[in-house]
């Protein structure tokens, strides 16, 4: 009988709710997990941290029955259990919120919640209404308000996350696994979420919290387990550790990446200090000619709603303009529109003063516009093609790799190898299939392809999403190098730390408009965080968490 309020009976005694012993998993010749032990105590928030590829998600997927383990045992409430499918896990009261939500976008919230559940063969309106009521109740209890009847594709990312959590609770989860839950939230929202989790824990739930943001880990969890390269390198209590130590455990080496504060920022440390870093001298002299100018841009989203509503910005040569904001405030549409992948409904886009509104990508590429797409697998790479082909596909008909009527296969391999060399891409070789690359390597390929062109303007959208520290490091360096080369760089990122670390100017988009901007000198994390929630400086307020999202879905 699904019940959101978690009966504390489950959490009696100090024995672990979940005890994973010597769990091992291999994918091909890659050891994803090696003899990993993991305990989850009743009523605790347990952070699971590590670099990308450290095995955090895999470990939890094993627990949730998505991935089968090669060896090891799992105990739930002291009893040996065999979890083969998510259904098994659900029946044991385990719920998981994946980083990439598993919601069917064309169905409504309630439909998604009853999807795949047992019960009456008919889906009666009355019954759905009951479910909806239950959802609203749970929503109220934990401050996860969402319209149960809305179609999922109408919801913002934040709302979809709530649906996922509510679904788990609705199915009676006593153990809740959250994979990178704060990745796409404003700092305010993130704090809000943590509060909500605490409320659930008070009701007796136990929560696993996967993240790589150390700040929130220290702030609000009971225990921390660090994974590195598929090994458990230790479980600690926040009180007796520090971001520095955790970072070291994660990365496996002292985190002294050139001693520049932004590297620590990557690991979630307060970055206000970054404001006074000596990057300012690279900033453009005032009034320098704008390379990109966007005027009153209006664009519709796939849902037919106004995603960009009179957005204005400009980027000058040799500066990085950061566009911060919560996912779903028009960043995706901005990225696509600026690169000719989406038609405008109004406004103009000027490149060096030339009107390039609605020009096709081919034309923009020729004009020296480069894009590092936010979805590197969907837009950036063709998995079934080789690394070399991916590196050269935008110039495949030009010498030396080809002519209009001919591909020079040897030349492609040679040139590909050359680029791999030059951009130090850790691929096995030019003939490796792009589909087999890790996230970081894939992004390096995209960067190499883009930056090896003659560029005027570089649009980088979420360039480090899901990358580990090492990869993040090299991406950032390349962006700064681009700036030094005098390129105009537009950085669209939902990762505030990234914007803070790189941007000469920072804009905040909200509801398809730029609602605030700061020069580097005035950068202030809290102010930006508020603005991301929709609170204009001195303008209309918002409680930072919800007002924003409602406003977004209200847009257009």
């Amino acid at each position: 009988m699904p019940d959101g309020r978690v009966s504390s009976a489950a959490a009696n005694g100090s024995s672990a709710v979940i005890a994973m012993r010597a769990v091992t998993k291999r994918f091909g010749d890659l050891q994803a997990l090696g003899d990993v032990d993991f305990d989850l105590r009743p009523g605790e928030i347990h952070a699971l941290i590590g670099e990308n590829g450290a095995g955090k998600t895999t470990l939890m997927n094993v627990l949730y029955g998505v991935v089968s383990r090669d060896a090891g045992t799992i105990e739930a409430n002291g009893k040996q259990v065999d979890i083969r499918t998510p259904q098994d896990a659900i029946e044991l009261g385990i719920g998981m919120v994946h980083q990439h939500f598993k919601l069917v976008s064309t169905l409504s919230v309630v439909e998604n919640i009853v999807l795949g559940q047992g019960g009456h063969v008919l889906v009666r309106k009355r019954r759905l209404a009951g479910v909806a009521e239950r959802i609203s109740e749970l929503g109220e209890r934990y401050g996860l308000r969402v319209d149960p009847w809305a179609k999922v594709w109408h919801l913002s990312v934040g709302e979809q996350q709530r649906v996922e959590i509510l679904r788990a609770l609705y199915r009676g989860a006593r153990v809740l696994i959250l994979d990178e839950p704060t990745a796409n939230l404003t700092p305010g929202e993130a704090d809000g979420l943590l509060e909500k989790l605490k409320a659930m824990v008070r009701d007796g739930a136990s929560i696993v919290f996967i993240t790589h943001h150390l700040e929130e880990v220290l702030g609000s969890t009971d225990r921390i387990t660090v994974l590195r390269a598929g090994q458990n390198v230790g479980t600690l209590v926040p009180a007796d550790t520090s971001t520095g130590e955790l970072a070291r455990m994660m990365v496996g080496r002292a985190v002294s990446l050139g001693g520049r504060s932004r590297d620590v920022a990557a690991l979630g440390v307060e970055v206000a200090a970054a404001a006074d870093r000596p990057a300012a001298q690279a900033a453009p002299t005032a009034g320098s000619q704008a390379v990109l100018t966007v005027e009153r841009l209006r664009v519709f989203s796939d849902r037919g709603e106004l995603a960009l509503d009179g957005l204005e910005l400009s980027v000058a040569a040799g500066e990085i303009v950061g566009v911060a904001g919560v996912e779903g405030n028009g960043q995706a549409e901005l990225e696509e529109t600026l690169f000719g992948l989406r038609k405008t409904a109004g406004g103009r886009v000027l490149l060096d003063g030339v009107d390039v509104t609605d020009e096709a990508p081919a034309g923009l590429l020729a004009r020296g516009v480069g894009l590092i797409p936010s979805d590197r697998y969907r837009r950036g790479l063709v998995g079934q093609l080789t690394v070399a082909e991916n590196l050269l596909c935008d110039r495949i008909d030009k010498a030396p790799v080809g002519s209009r009527l001919r591909l020079r296969r040897k030349a492609i391999l040679a040139r590909g190898a050359d680029l791999i060399e030059r951009y130090s891409i850790p691929a096995s070789g030019p003939a490796q299939l792009a589909g087999t690359l890790s996230g970081g390597t894939a992004q390096r390929v995209v960067l190499a392809r883009t930056l090896s062109r003659e560029l005027r303007l570089l649009i980088a959208a979420q360039p480090t999403r899901g990358l580990d520290v090492g990869a993040m490091e090299s991406v950032w360096e390349q962006l700064e190098a681009a700036r030094r080369r005098g390129l105009a760089v537009l950085l669209i990122s939902t990762d505030l730390d990234e914007v803070l670390a790189l941007a000469d100017r920072c804009l905040v988009v909200y509801g398809g408009r730029v609602i605030a901007q700061w020069a580097r000198a005035q950068l202030n994390r809290d102010a930006i965080g508020l603005a991301m929630g929709g609170a204009q400086p001195g303008g209309r307020g918002g409680d930072g968490t919800d007002a924003g999202l409602e406003a977004v879905t209200g847009a257009g």
Binding site: F27, V66, K102, L103, T106, L107, E111, V121, L122, D302
Partner: protein, 322 residues
């Protein structure tokens, strides 16, 4: 020409009855195809399934003199081919487009063979089509009454089947799973739905309705059989699913539009003096296709986002990497 003969008040009832008659077999198959496509199966074998259903239905009725048995045979034949299709598309995951076309080849040959084998030249087989039932009261509604409520039992069976499929698709858990599976198999899988199982069943449903459609045509309307008796209705059914943007209700409307245009062109032609009018009758014959295409384009111009199930035609494989 005398338009009154074509769309005059007195001509409307026969016109629409004719339109409905032409539409029902196709619509039945199309609704089933819509169902299986919503689950992510692209089944181009509908023509073959209808043809087999038509033959099985006829044979069943011919030897047992029971329409009911005939209909069951028709459905059964469709289901058998559905199993074959599912075996290829879902289990072996072979290219769905080619599965369908191979299935049509196979069914055409098989039915032609059976026809030649079973019926000697001495006696040409015919079956008597069931008489029209007049639904009291409803049948007396002007125009609609005679068109919809003075049809024979198979018409009502077909309608019931269509409504049933629509009901299952939108009002049952399984229907929910079907819609989820066609749209986002990974999410469905995560929700503990067996994607392949759903697709299997959906293909069987599609086969059953296609078979029923064939049976309705031959047992309910013609009472006589012939090689390739469906004459391409199955292909139209596939087209109608896309035309109806995967919404079974629109699919049915599309079928009716197509059928009525066809009925209309036959009348215009006769009323306009046929070939003696010098106007190429091929134009009239092409009319249903032209109209369908025109409406399609119009809809496409209006539409912002595609209605096609995202995973249509793509076999589902559980991804190994966590």
């Amino acid at each position: 020409m005398n338009w009154n003969e074509v769309i005059g008040s007195s001509a409307l009832v026969p016109l629409f009855s004719s339109g409905v008659a032409l539409a029902v077999p196709t619509a039945t198959a199309a609704v089933g195809e819509c169902f299986s496509e919503r689950a992510g199966n692209l089944n181009l074998g509908v023509e073959g399934m209808m043809l087999s259903g038509a033959f099985a239905g006829f044979i069943g009725t011919y030897y047992t003199h029971s329409v009911a048995v005939g209909v069951l045979c028709g459905i059964g034949a469709g289901v058998l081919l559905g199993i074959l299709m599912a075996g290829l598309s879902v289990w072996l995951k072979t290219e769905q487009v080619i599965n369908g076309i191979a299935l049509v080849l196979f069914a055409q040959g098989l039915t032609a063979f059976v026809y030649g084998k079973l019926f000697s030249t001495s006696s040409t087989p015919t079956i008597s089509t069931p008489a029209n039932l007049h639904i009291p009261l409803l049948a007396d509604i002007p125009v609609i009454g005679p068109v919809l409520f003075k049809q024979n039992s198979l018409f009502y069976i077909a309608v019931a089947a269509m409504l049933g499929v629509i009901f299952v698709l939108y009002r049952t858990r399984f229907g929910l799973s079907v819609r989820a599976t066609g749209e986002d198999p990974a999410a469905a899988d995560a929700a503990a739905i067996s994607v392949d199982r759903v697709r299997w069943i959906a293909l069987l449903v599609g086969g059953a309705t296609a078979g029923l459609g064939g049976a309705v045509l031959v047992v309910g309307q013609l009472g006589i059989i012939q090689t390739n008796v469906t004459a391409g209705a199955g292909w139209i059914a596939v087209a109608l699913v896309i035309f109806g943007r995967w919404n079974p209700v629109y699919v049915i409307l599309g079928a009716f539009l197509f059928g009525t245009t066809d009925a209309l062109q036959l009348r215009i032609q006769a009323a306009s003096g046929g070939v003696t009018s010098g106007f190429p009758y091929e134009f009239f014959q092409a009319l249903p296709y032209l109209v369908t295409l025109a409406v399609m384009v119009a809809v496409a111009i209006g539409a912002r986002r595609t209605a096609q199930p995202a995973a249509l035609g793509a076999p589902f494989r559980k991804e190994v990497a966590g």
